[in-house]
Symmetry: C2
Amino acid sequence: MVENRAPGWSEMLKAIFPHSGKARVLGLTGPPGAGKSTLVDQLARFYRKDDRKVGIVAVDPTSPYTGGAILGDRIRMQEHFSDPGIYIRSMATRGSLGGLARTTADVTTVLDASGRDLIMIETVGVGQDEVDIVRLADVTILILVPGMGDDVQTIKAGIMEIADIFVINKSDRDGAEHVEREIRSLQSLAMRHDGWTPPIVKTVASQGVGIKELASAVSDYEAYLQKENLALPKSVENWQERLVEMLRDAMLEKARTQLGDGNLARLAAEVAEHKRDPYTLVEEIAANAGKS
Amino acid sequence: MVENRAPGWSEMLKAIFPHSGKARVLGLTGPPGAGKSTLVDQLARFYRKDDRKVGIVAVDPTSPYTGGAILGDRIRMQEHFSDPGIYIRSMATRGSLGGLARTTADVTTVLDASGRDLIMIETVGVGQDEVDIVRLADVTILILVPGMGDDVQTIKAGIMEIADIFVINKSDRDGAEHVEREIRSLQSLAMRHDGWTPPIVKTVASQGVGIKELASAVSDYEAYLQKENLALPKSVENWQERLVEMLRDAMLEKARTQLGDGNLARLAAEVAEHKRDPYTLVEEIAANAGKS
């Protein structure tokens, strides 16, 4: 209901919000082929040993036209189906311009309110979209692998500062030390404002190697935030961004309602034929919205 | 000025818009390591032989905190520096939630108005962000490579329908036929509403192989759009999306102005402490915006 913005989604969220806020939220991202799904599965298994209820939100870079989710996740889902302590939700992009980070956050709120102790948001990619999705988590984990080719520098620069923990997965492969050195050298350039130095954890997720160490790194960071009184400020900062995003959508909705879809198509045609300048047009619409 | 939203950017765009609309715009994207930069360089060289003025907008998945651009592009830029017929602009993400697609479009409008005959928008990645950036081009080119690992299926599903032309770069490597078969099999599942079947062009950009064939594929698609009277409808559709995006920003600005930054921080703190439900809050702000 929330994911598809079905009627009543907003009332639903208002009702459950007071019950949310108890879950810890991990955000995991990395380039395609880094083994994220396997790592998330292993982490879920690990946390289940302590009988903690786990929720997984897998955000897939899926077709903006068909809105379908990735088959692989559905298959993976089956594997955990017998354990009610693990709930997995696959989300597609649904073709909305922007908005995916917001929907992911709302779906996470639902899982949180439902009583999950730990929620993992997993997404594929290292672009702005993925940054927006995972930065709203309490702890952000960036998963890299040895031998990522020429663009590894690009990837790490793009998402470097939001990673609270680095994972080098498939670390039994050649080049793991090289990736580690590169991370360290980039870290020396960028000082985090919270004073935390993100640790680098080496894993071989397919064999369960390093999972315990990764869970310890997560606990260490959470303990650091508590000790330095940084947990609430981080949450306030995240909410400030979420509120702006929500406000943007709400205001657009207001303007669209006033304008009407038919008018939008007509105006777009005038702009496409260069009969009208879009910059002045948008200013005029915004100025009039809400006046009547 | 336009990229950084420096004072006067909006007036500038209003003034130059009537002079834009003549350039052809190609959008090129693909996963990291696909060799996009080399391919774009080769295409630029090719078009320069006909003495066409080329503009390149390279959109980098750069740090949301530092806003810096990727060093590699700066270096690449130097190479063409002596040819005034090629103008390269590297763009960083600047940390804005969303918005990158819009800024890219605005920068493209500037290059267009400045008299560039052909503009190439190059971006790294296969997420929603990259889809939003390249789908606003006249012709969208997706660059894949052999041996992309397990996630190749994911990547292609995510961006499949927006590609007007597929390129298999580094096609002298093992697995080129395999990638081609996968594209063909995905194509058989999704019918395009414009009736065009995207061709697959094999290139080895580093050796200049297949560049002429790629340029021919671009011309073929443009000829098809003209023949079927689809060029204007496509442009109207693109502008409809751009207008919505612009309206979203303008309306947000309006709401923020009314609210004030200090208030936003205070309200975010109340939400973070779960004293206030964000969904009701945003509805209230939107309802009040523009009333006074």
